[in-house]
C-alpha cells in the first residue's frame, strides 16, 4: 500500500496522518496577540526586541526566527459594515495573525542542503534545529518571508513555526489555535477547514462584506496550495502577503538547464582558446 503526501511523494506508509493545517479567519481577529504569546510560551521562542514601531498596534513587525505568529494591524479610512471601531463610521481595522503557510510545494524544504527541513506525517513542514547548519538558503526560498536566522556567536540556525509538531503527535491542537479567544485561528484536517472556510465566505458575502476572500486555499496557485490558509478582507499585499506567490523551484528545470548550457559554453570557450593558439 502506498500513501501520498501533499507534495506528491510517497512517504510515511501507514504512519501517514490526514493533512492538518490552520484556517485563519481574519474577519473575527480582535488583535489580542494571544496567539503570539501562546506560541512563544509553548515553543520557548526568545524575545524579539521590545520596540515600538509606530505602525498601529503592531510592535512585532514581521514573522521571523523569533516570531512564529505575527498579528498585523491595518488602519483604513473605509467603512466595515459589521465592525464598530468607535472612531466614526469611515474607519475600519484589519487584523490578521500571520504564520508559516506549510506550503504544498515548499521552497524552503526543496533548497535545504542538509535535509534539516522535512515534511511530517501531518503534511506540515518542520526544521530540525540540530541538523540545520544556518546556511540561510531557506530564507530566500520562502515566497512569504517566514524564515530567518536566530543569531548566535559562531552558530545560529533557522527557525519557524512547526505547527506545534510535538503537540500534534500527542493529539493536541497547536498552542496558538488553543489560545485564540475568537476562533479566528482554527486548526484541523485541511479538507474540513477548507469546507468550513467556503461557508464562512458565503456568510460574509451575504452579510454585505463583499471584500471577503480566501487566500492560498487552492492547489492551482504557485505553491500548490497551503497548509495554512486565510480569509482576508482586502488584497493580500495590504497585509504584507505576496499576491501571487510562486515556489522558486517551479523553474528548477530552466535554472539547471541554463547552468548546464553555461558550463558547456565555458568548455567551448577554453577549447577555442587552445585551437586558436595552436597555429
Amino acid at each position: 500500500m502506498s500513501v501520498t503526501s501533499p507534495d506528491g511523494q510517497t512517504t510515511y506508509g501507514l504512519q501517514i496522518q490526514p493533512r492538518m493545517g490552520f484556517f485563519t479567519d481574519t474577519s473575527i481577529c480582535i488583535g489580542c496577540k494571544a496567539c503570539e504569546v501562546a506560541c512563544k510560551e509553548w515553543n520557548l521562542v526568545p524575545e524579539d526586541g521590545l520596540d515600538f514601531t509606530g505602525n498601529s498596534y503592531d510592535n512585532t513587525g514581521e514573522l521571523s526566527a523569533n516570531s512564529w505568529r505575527h498579528v498585523a494591524f491595518i488602519e483604513q479610512r473605509m467603512e466595515f459594515p459589521v465592525q464598530e471601531a468607535g472612531v466614526g463610521t469611515d474607519f475600519r481595522w484589519l487584523m490578521s495573525s500571520d504564520v508559516c503557510k506549510h506550503c504544498t510545494h515548499a521552497g524552503c524544504l526543496d533548497v535545504c542542503p542538509t535535509g534539516a527541513i522535512f515534511r511530517t506525517e501531518f503534511g506540515t513542514v518542520v526544521i530540525q534545529d540540530d541538523v540545520c547548519n544556518g546556511c540561510g538558503y531557506c530564507v530566500v526560498a520562502c515566497p512569504f518571508g517566514v524564515i530567518s536566522k536566530r543569531e548566535l556567536d559562531d552558530d545560529g540556525g533557522m527557525h519557524k513555526c512547526t505547527l506545534c509538531y510535538d503537540r500534534l503527535q500527542d493529539g493536541m491542537e497547536p498552542a496558538c489555535a488553543k489560545a485564540c479567544p475568537t476562533k479566528s485561528i482554527q486548526f484541523g484536517p485541511l479538507d474540513e477547514l477548507l469546507e468550513r472556510a467556503q461557508g464562512r465566505v458565503e456568510d460574509l458575502h451575504e452579510a454585505g462584506v463583499d471584500d471577503a476572500r480566501l487566500y492560498l486555499d487552492g492547489p492551482e496557485d504557485g505553491i500548490g496550495g497551503a497548509g495554512a490558509f486565510f480569509l482576508l478582507l482586502d488584497e493580500p499585499e495590504v497585509y504584507g502577503l505576496p499576491p501571487d506567490p510562486v515556489v522558486p523551484t517551479k523553474h528548477l528545470g530552466e535554472i539547471w538547464g541554463s547552468a548546464l548550457v553555461a558550463g558547456a559554453v565555458l568548455v567551448a570557450g577554453v577549447a577555442a582558446a587552445f585551437l586558436g593558439a595552436g597555429e
Partner: protein, 305 residues
C-alpha cells in the same frame, strides 16, 4: 483612502515592509562566487593545457586552480560560523537544492584539484595527476556556473528573473578571471591560450551582463541601478573593459598581462558583488515582489476572459 504605505510605483504594501526576507549571506559568499568560479575555469584550462602538451601553462593553471579552491571552503565556513557545520551538507544529496549539488561539486573538485597540484609540485604519480586533473576539469565548468543557479533558485526578484543569464554571466567572469590570472603567471609563448581565454571571457562578460540587466525587465532591473549594486556594476564594467583591452593589446608582455589580468579579476569580482547587492536591494523593496505578481495576475485574468 488607505493608511497603508504606497510605493512610488503605486504598489500597496504593509507599512513599506518587505514581503520576502533578504539574503543573510555575508560578503564572503560573493567573494566565494569569485574564487569558486575562477577555480573552476582554471581547472578546465589546466586540463586543456595538459592534453595539448603545454606543460608550462598546465603547471600554472593547476596551481591557480588549487589555490582558488583552497580559499573557497574557508570562505563558506566563515559564513556558516564553524567548520563542523559544513559537514551537515554532506549527509544528503538533493537535486532540488543547487547548494547541495554545489557542496558535492566543491568537495569533489577540491579534492581532485588538491591531488593534482600535490602531484605537480612533488613531481610524482603522473597517471594519478592526469586522472585527478581530468576529474577537476570535468567538474570545473559546473563549479563556475552552479552558483548562478544557486542564487537564481530563490524568490529574490532580480536573481530569479535573471535565471537564464546568471550562470552565463558567472561562466564569463570565471573565464575572464582564470584566463587573466594564469596568463599573468605564465611566460610567453606558453601563455597564449590563457590570454585568449581572458579576452573572450572579458568580452563575454560585458555582453552577458548587459543581457542580464535588460533581461530582468524594466521594473526589477531598477535594482541594478541603485546603491552599491550600481557602484559595483559600474566598477565591474570599467575594469572588465579596460582589462580586456589591455590584455588584447599588451597581454603578450608580462607587465601587460599582469595589469590586464588584475583588471579582469577585479571586474569579475565586482560583478559578483553587483549581483549580490542587487539581490539585497530587490528583496528589501516590497514593490519588486508584489508588483510583478499583481501584473501577472492581471494578465492571467485578461487571458481568462
Amino acid at each position: 483612502m488607505s493608511d497603508t504605505a504606497t510605493t512610488p510605483e503605486g504598489a500597496v504594501s504593509y507599512y513599506g515592509k518587505p514581503i520576502i526576507k533578504g539574503p543573510v549571506w555575508k560578503p564572503e559568499i560573493p567573494l566565494y562566487f569569485f574564487t569558486g568560479g575562477l577555480s573552476g575555469a582554471a581547472a578546465v584550462l589546466a586540463l586543456g593545457a595538459r592534453l595539448t602538451g603545454n606543460e608550462v601553462l598546465a603547471r600554472r593553471a593547476t596551481l591557480v586552480n588549487a589555490a582558488a579552491i583552497t580559499v573557497s571552503p574557508v570562505l563558506l565556513i566563515k559564513d556558516l560560523g564553524r567548520p563542523a557545520l559544513f559537514l551537515n551538507m554532506l549527509r544528503v544529496f538533493k537535486v532540488t537544492s543547487p547548494m547541495s549539488v554545489g557542496t558535492w561539486i566543491v568537495s569533489g573538485s577540491g579534492t581532485a584539484s588538491g591531488a593534482a597540484a600535490a602531484c605537480e609540485v612533488f613531481g610524482v604519480l603522473p597517471r594519478g595527476k592526469l586522472a585527478a586533473q581530468s576529474l577537476a576539469g570535468a567538474l570545473g565548468p559546473f563549479l563556475s556556473t552552479y552558483t548562478g543557479a544557486l542564487v537564481a533558485d530563490t524568490v529574490v526578484p532580480v536573481w530569479h528573473e535573471a535565471r537564464r543569464t546568471l550562470p552565463l554571466v558567472f561562466a564569463a567572469g570565471s573565464a575572464a578571471s582564470a584566463g587573466g590570472a594564469v596568463a599573468a603567471l605564465t611566460p610567453q609563448p606558453f601563455a597564449e591560450p590563457a590570454r585568449r581565454l581572458a579576452i573572450v571571457g572579458g568580452i563575454a562578460e560585458l555582453a552577458t551582463v548587459t543581457a542580464m540587466e535588460k533581461g530582468v525587465g524594466e521594473l526589477v532591473g531598477e535594482a541594478f541601478e541603485k546603491g552599491k549594486a550600481h557602484e559595483f556594476g559600474r566598477l565591474a564594467k570599467a575594469a572588465t573593459l579596460a582589462g580586456t583591452i589591455v590584455t588584447a593589446l599588451a597581454g603578450r608582455r608580462r607587465a601587460g598581462a599582469v595589469v590586464g589580468g588584475g583588471l579582469l579579476m577585479a571586474g569579475a569580482l565586482c560583478e559578483r558583488f553587483a549581483v549580490y547587492h542587487a539581490g539585497k536591494i530587490s528583496a528589501a523593496d516590497p514593490t519588486y515582489t508584489s508588483l510583478p505578481q499583481k501584473r501577472r495576475l492581471a494578465s492571467a485574468q485578461q487571458q481568462g476572459q
